[in-house]
Amino acid sequence: MIKLEKIGKAYKADREWIPVLKNVELEVNQGDFLAIMGPSGSGKSTLLNLIGFVDRNYDGNYFLEGNIVTSKNDADLSKLRNQRVGFVFQQFNLIETLTIEENVELPLLYDGWNYRQTKDKVTELLEKLGIGDKGKKMPKQLSGGQQQRAAIARAIINDPDFILADEPTGALDTHTSRDIMNIFKQLNEEEGVTIILVTHDPKTVEYCNRVVRMQDGVLTEEVR
């Protein structure tokens, strides 16, 4: 589904180019639960932004379902972000001035839905993720685990091709982490959602079926 060819990226600092990604080659298939591991500063977040159509300044080719996305404009990339990918962040990144329901329905609204159409879908999804009674609450009134569930709901409401999760359990305790990882596992196994997980927590890697390691901008796949 995703194919990265010879991806390279460098930052300019003090008139010197510092490489972050070096010749990265990666293929992600439908149904994969892929973990990207590596220490901080290894370039894994940069890679994630690139895969998530956020970053457009890189060398090499990025194919999505055989179509090149490398040179698309902002409007097209925004559309891809909206329809093809769901983001889950370490700090949840819910918009604090909106209720949980309003947060979850945002991707649908940017996809051109109107309020009447979104309501049922949002309620159903919150129900499924076990926070059906929290729809009218503000993000701050919820615990970390509940907020992350809401964030996951927001990530999958547009039925994306894949989910990008950037250390989704980094801000949660062990017990809640396990719950959240089980939700991902369930989505992956029961609904075939492709998940790309950035983490440096070995415990969460156990849920994945593929692991790649990032070290100084070089990507290597771990054979299991």
Partner: protein, 401 residues
């Protein structure tokens, strides 16, 4: 995104910062209140003038437009029409014009140069359609003279006393008017004044049949005026000005001279002078206030953008394009100033209602004022929130998340 979603989003964002939004709005409210007050009063005054100049009952008003050639000699010699049929049709299409006609000048009077006893005299002639004045010798003019276009005249004795010793002696004699010879058929006694010390200065008035004049002297008349009948509800001065503008643009004689009209409107009296002063003052207050308010809006929008940097990043990650981020912030600015505009209009309405107690006319709700109030305030919002909104849309998502 559907428009409703945008509106709700902008509305929520404003509500989140009620106090700040309200304070920013005050400048707009003052500015628009000033604008709408002065507009309401102005419109009230205009209606008042209209009402007094063109009441609902009675005869319709007319305005006259005169053509004045740069070359006056040419004007007297030419046979060309100063107002063509095209000109008239053009003016008929002006709003507020009921009808247009060419004014035949001197329809009741005519004037001639004539030689009497070797001296050049300037005389006025009344054009008579039926019976003329009573005479002391000969006969009066009657309608038959008019019907038959007889070249006959009745003259005061004072005009001819230097040539003929008695009144009777003058009867049957000829007198040339212009290049036509007329027969004197009657003599009347001149006014007392005419034989007094002013006699030499006063024009002598004779009588000739109207049709004779039209038949033999038609080419001498100068049809340099048209009369426009103004429809009810229109200001004569507006109609005249618009017609003149049209004539100067496309009139058949526009390269030969100028068109003028006598301004009979009361717009130049004291009340309007005072109002004009007040208008100027309030307009400048409004302008300055709106400008400062605009800067305030801009300031607030920049603060709002930087406070919501994270929100912008999240929205972008969820699929908001640069365009929709920009639209969201612009709409917030426009919505805020528009609300300010509506409040300002309501205040303006209140002020002008109070003002109308002290003025001889009333002010009221007026669609144009409402549209201008809301339009101007929305425009201020658009202009001053565009730059902050654009800055918001240009934020790099990578830096934000």
């Amino acid at each position: 995104m559907s428009p409703l979603v945008f509106f709700k989003g902008a509305w929520n964002a404003l509500l989140k910062n009620k106090k700040r939004s309200f304070l920013t709005m005050i400048g707009i409210v003052i500015g628009i209140a000033a604008v709408s007050t002065i507009m309401s009063i102005g419109r009230g005054f205009e209606n008042y003038v209209l009402e007094s100049l063109n009441p609902d009952e009675g005869e319709l008003l007319t305005v006259d437009i005169q053509f004045q050639a740069d070359d006056t000699d040419w004007m007297f010699e030419t046979n060309e029409d100063f107002f063509s049929d095209n000109d008239l049709r053009m003016i008929e299409s002006v709003t507020g014009v009921q009808s247009v006609e060419i004014l035949s000048m001197n329809s009741e009077y005519a004037s001639f140069d004539t030689m009497i006893d070797g001296k050049e005299n300037y005389i006025d002639a009344s054009l008579i359609e039926d019976s003329g004045r009573t005479v002391i010798a000969g006969r009066s003019l009657d309608f038959i003279d008019n019907e038959k276009e007889n070249r006959v005249m009745v003259a005061p004795y004072s005009l001819v006393e230097s040539q003929y010793e008695t009144e009777e002696a003058a009867i049957g004699k000829g007198l040339s008017l212009g290049d036509q010879l007329y027969t004197i058929v009657g003599i009347y006694e001149g006014d007392d004044d005419a034989s007094g010390i002013l006699a030499g200065f006063l024009p002598q008035e004779i009588e000739i049949p109207k049709n004779s004049y039209n038949r033999y002297h038609e080419e001498d008349t100068i049809e340099d005026q048209i009369s426009i009948t103004v429809a009810r509800g229109s200001l004569p001065s507006d109609v005249a000005e618009e017609s003149i503008a049209l004539l100067e643009e496309e009139g058949s004689m526009n390269d030969r001279g100028i068109y003028t009209h006598f301004d009979m409107s009361a717009l130049d009296d004291g009340l309007s002078q005072v109002l004009r002063g007040i208008t100027l003052f309030i307009a400048s207050v409004a302008g300055i206030s709106l400008f400062i308010a605009g800067i305030g809006v801009m300031n607030m929008m920049y603060i709002s953008v930087s406070e919501r940097t994270k929100e912008i990043g999240i929205r972008r990650a969820l699929g908001a394009s640069q365009k929709s981020i920009r639209a969201q912030f612009v709409l917030e600015g426009v919505m805020m100033t528009s609300i300010g505009g509506i409040l300002g209009y309501l205040f303006g309405w209140l002020f002008s209602s109070i003002a109308s107690f002290f003025l001889p006319f009333s002010t009221g709700l007026d669609l144009l004022t409402i549209l201008v109030s809301i339009g101007v305030s929305a425009l201020v919002g658009l202009i001053f929130s565009y730059a902050p909104a654009n800055a918001a849309s240009k934020k790099e998502i990578i830096d934000i998340i």
